[in-house]
């Protein structure tokens, strides 16, 4: 009986101490983590719209979308913060599109947990540069194992077709959403 009480007591105490410690650390870390995330989003917005100087968030329920202005406060395009499923988990990316939504300025992968060495290549310049100036009409397509021929095509990464396709699907979905927003006059 004494043993049982000791077992329960020890585990409870360890649990309480560990919980208290983690609460403390999390309390300290969570604002920093949030700040990091915000700074990263901000950085992403201007990375995909290199001429952008200021931005403004558009409040919609559908997707996270930002208007980007140049130094003279002229609208130069939109930055879309998108999220979708990759091969192993969520991919978060930022896509910059022109004002008419028909051309991509560039994309930036913010977060991914793809296979290191294979799927994680979606974060490399070789892959991302394919999106620069890409046509989005009627939608982005992918080709496998050969050079893209049409202005709306990209080539998938060898060994990471699913990750590459996921990025295309996420961008397509975002642009489609943005188009429907534009039709409703919300942009």
């Amino acid at each position: 009986m004494k043993k049982t009480i000791q077992i329960v007591a020890v585990l409870t105490i360890i649990g309480i101490i560990s919980g208290a410690l983690l609460t403390k650390v999390n309390h300290w870390a969570s604002p920093l983590i949030a700040a990091n995330k915000k700074a990263e989003t901000e950085k992403g917005i201007f990375l995909v719209q290199p001429d952008g100087k200021s931005y403004e968030k558009i409040h919609t329920s559908d997707i996270e979308i930002y208007k980007v202005f140049d130094s003279n406060k002229n609208l130069i395009g939109y930055s879309l913060a998108l999220e979708g499923n990759g091969f192993q988990g969520k991919i978060r990316l930022m896509a910059g599109v022109s004002t008419d939504l028909n051309k991509i300025t560039s994309i930036e992968i913010l977060e991914q947990v793809e296979t290191p060495g294979l799927g994680s290549k979606i974060t490399e310049e070789n892959f991302k540069n394919q999106f620069k100036g890409l046509q989005t009409l009627p939608q982005i397509n992918w080709v496998k194992g050969k050079k893209p021929e049409n202005p709306n095509e990209i080539q998938t990464i060898t060994g990471a077709t699913i990750s590459s396709k996921s990025v295309v699907a996420i961008v397509n979905y975002g642009i489609q959403k943005a188009r429907s927003l534009k039709e409703r006059g919300a942009l």
Partner: protein, 231 residues
């Protein structure tokens, strides 16, 4: 009472003699999964070493308070606490590093090197010895992961630590950065490590045998000389 070895020996044994990867065959999951590049291997091993050292120290401190029946549960909670702290601190202060390691940091909780050392060593030894043992094992793990990461990165993407080593004419072996490449590299490295140890043992044996032979022959000579002198 078992024979106490020196504290320094507790440290050095982890580097080679009981190297967690090549000798204890522990922590295979991160070994196989993250070693696609040298830098990944190093970062993973450093994070593991951090958790290993602190949890070994703490477990060794409280080893007499924890009842035998719940020791594993207690160790896991202690280890998980340190891993979560490491994860949160990295996310808050080093977001770039945290991004590079991604999901492998939370997975340190179930790394069997940490639980293995806690169960096999820290639960029976003093805090100082436990820390030295943890450091030794951590650095042994670091060496193993760095070697594996370098080999796989070199053959799989022509680089080491991101610097190109092999010329562009060398076609990267994609298999090396796939899981299969990890198994091949690990198998070969283990084979080499074992062959080396065997050879070393054999040489030591021979030296020992030769020593005895020499001693015997000198003794025979001595006794022979003594006989001659008597005559």
């Amino acid at each position: 009472m078992k024979k106490q070895v020196s504290v320094w020996k507790e440290f050095t044994k982890g580097l080679w003699e009981i190297n967690p990867t090549f000798k204890q065959i522990l922590g295979m999951c991160p070994t196989l999964a993250v070693t696609v590049s040298a830098i990944n291997g190093i970062a993973m091993a450093l994070a593991t070493t951090f958790v290993l050292v602190f949890s070994s120290f703490l477990i060794s401190c409280v080893r007499k308070l924890i009842p035998n029946q719940v020791r594993i549960a207690s160790y896991i909670v202690i280890i998980a606490t340190f891993v979560t702290i490491a994860d949160l601190v990295m996310k808050a202060k080093f977001p770039e590093l945290s991004k590079a390691l991604g999901p492998f940091v939370p997975l340190i909780v179930v790394n069997c090197i940490i639980l293995g050392r806690a169960e096999a060593f820290a639960s029976k030894n003093s805090p100082i010895r436990s820390v030295m043992d943890a450091l030794g094992n951590g650095i042994g793990f670091l060496i193993a992961l760095t070697i594996m990461g370098s080999i796989r990165e070199l053959l799989g993407s022509r680089t080491i630590f991101g610097y190109q080593i092999l010329p562009n004419s060398f076609e990267p072996l994609l298999v090396m950065i796939l899981p299969a490449g990890a198994f091949i590299t690990l198998g070969l490295l283990m084979g080499i490590a074992n062959a080396y140890i065997e050879r070393k043992k054999k040489i030591e044996h021979e030296i020992l045998i030769n020593k005895f032979r020499e001693r015997d022959s000198t003794q025979i000579n001595l006794s022979h000389n003594a006989e001659l002198a008597e005559e």
